[in-house]
Amino acid sequence: MINPYWELVIFLVMINVIFTLSLNLILGYNGQFSLGHAGFLAIGAYGSGVATTALGLPLFAGVLMSIACCIVAAVIVGYPCLRLGGDYLAIATLGFAEIIRIVLLALPEKTFGGATGMQNIHNIYDYLPVPAGAHNGIINLIFTIVFSVVFLALTIWGVFALGNFLNGVLQKRFGGNFWRYIVWAGFVVLIIANLSGTKGTASVSAKPGIAGYVMDIFQFSNAMKQPSLESRQWLVFLIYGLIVLAVNQLIRNFLNSVPGRGVVAIRENEIAATNLGINVFWLKLQNFMLGCAFAGLAGALLAHTIPLIKPIEFGFLKSVDVLLMVVLGGMGSMTGSFVGAVSISVLPEVLRGVGEWRMVLYSLVLILFMLFKPGGIFGTNELSDIFRLPWLKRGRDAEASDA
């Protein structure tokens, strides 16, 4: 059983991934600056929150309501601004998010909670049936095994991929093969990471190294002890994971469709896109609506995940946060959104040890990125562009060879 703290972190990471993907669709793939994306997250959160509590609707209706509200809001903001073009959308969304925040503060406290926030929203766990005890052992075990295997596979693949990437970069720069050194460097990093933990004393609690964190997350030793809670937790992970995958797949399909290609063409050169017969304004609006709809979904999930939603959490900082996730990962890269969202959501947790300095580190990392890799970690590349694995051969030019 993953402890509640890390459980929440993982949920938030998954929600942030959806949120980041939604902004990436607008900013990365269409080139439209939305500086107030948190406003749509707020609409999503409060939409589903109010729908399920005050109106007493079921969960799916609440989520649909969030999405619908966000689409309507997107039309209201997008219709005039996208028509004008230029930076109007950035300014308007910035203002819009503030308006939403202030309106939420002013709305009746009984339903919307005012400044202290909405507390009585049903948690996602409230919607799950309590599983019968006898059943739990097996399901629990299966989930644990599947999750561990997937996690392990992803880790190994990720490490291999990172090494491959590094090797490629070094090869381009200096020539020759660097795998050997990368492996050694990896070992050194791992050892240091593990030694970095400290033992606890009576007054100071222990600070585990990386391995400690991993153990802390999964607590395999306890895996079989709390069957009922355990399998429910895995179930929620599974549901959220599936939603993330579904959003990912939907956006991918959209980008590969005719309008999706048009969206990218608009980013690349608006006049040329017009010239080629793309209805630029309408397509930008459609894309903005789609992006905001996914932001609404993220908001709805958020409302049913954290115990309390407050207007102040949907302020400018939240918008900047998600902007950073998109920019850091790479504007116009799905993989980048995943990496950006995960790293920026987890970074503060991992850096908790360095206290206030973490904001400095945070900024430093970003400045370094702006200087040396302004396109973000992935640029506009996907994993499949970087690693030519046979079953992933869907890179942008994969078809070209058989033309």
Partner: protein, 249 residues
Amino acid sequence: MTDQSGNHHVDEGRKILSVEDLHVAYGAVKALRGISFSVKAGEIVTLIGANGAGKSTTMNCIMGLVKCQAGKIVFLDEDIANMHAFQIVRKGLSLSPEGRRLFLNLSVRENLEIGGLITLDKGKKQELLDEIFQLFPRVKERLTQIAGTLSGGEQQMVAISRAIMQNPDLLLLDEPSLGLAPNLVQEIFEKVQILNSEGKTILMVEQNAFQALRISHRAYCLEHGELNIKGTGAELLANPKIKEAYLGG
């Protein structure tokens, strides 16, 4: 001249585009002051003129990228003046614009695909691609290259190919030879002629008046937003005024 006119398959002589008394102004600047001309099926028609005469304005206005204040643009019996570009493309016009306007960060293949995005279904796409590869073997070679890294001439070929990918009834070319070396200019005009002999109707704007006029069936000379001289390509080549102003005496 018209030595290749025997090759035309389209019902020749039918006017597919006729521009009537077109006025365009950018604020106080009057770019076009009532020009009229027409293009018949199977022709190459060329507009020549000095810098700032209003040639690109004419092309952009036909494509719906620039609004006109008065006049008619009749394409296949329908007035398309001041329609949106996305509507006009669907009616069967496409423009290879001045300065190419490629998607510089995308590959050549992606550029071509976006060209055919709106107007083509899948089978037709491959057919047109094959046609393009035959016309410009260089484009096929460079299919996976990022368009921004192509040489100027290659970019021009891609721009024309991208316009062809829309499978237009009337192809507009705005300065196809812009910035090309003399031998490439020659080559581009040859390609234009081949395209035409395969049945494409072409309206072209050119600075290289001599070569453009040689392959044009008819031509117009635009001066300060007015069409003053018109005739067949050969007539304009022989016109003393044109000779002096555009052909270097």
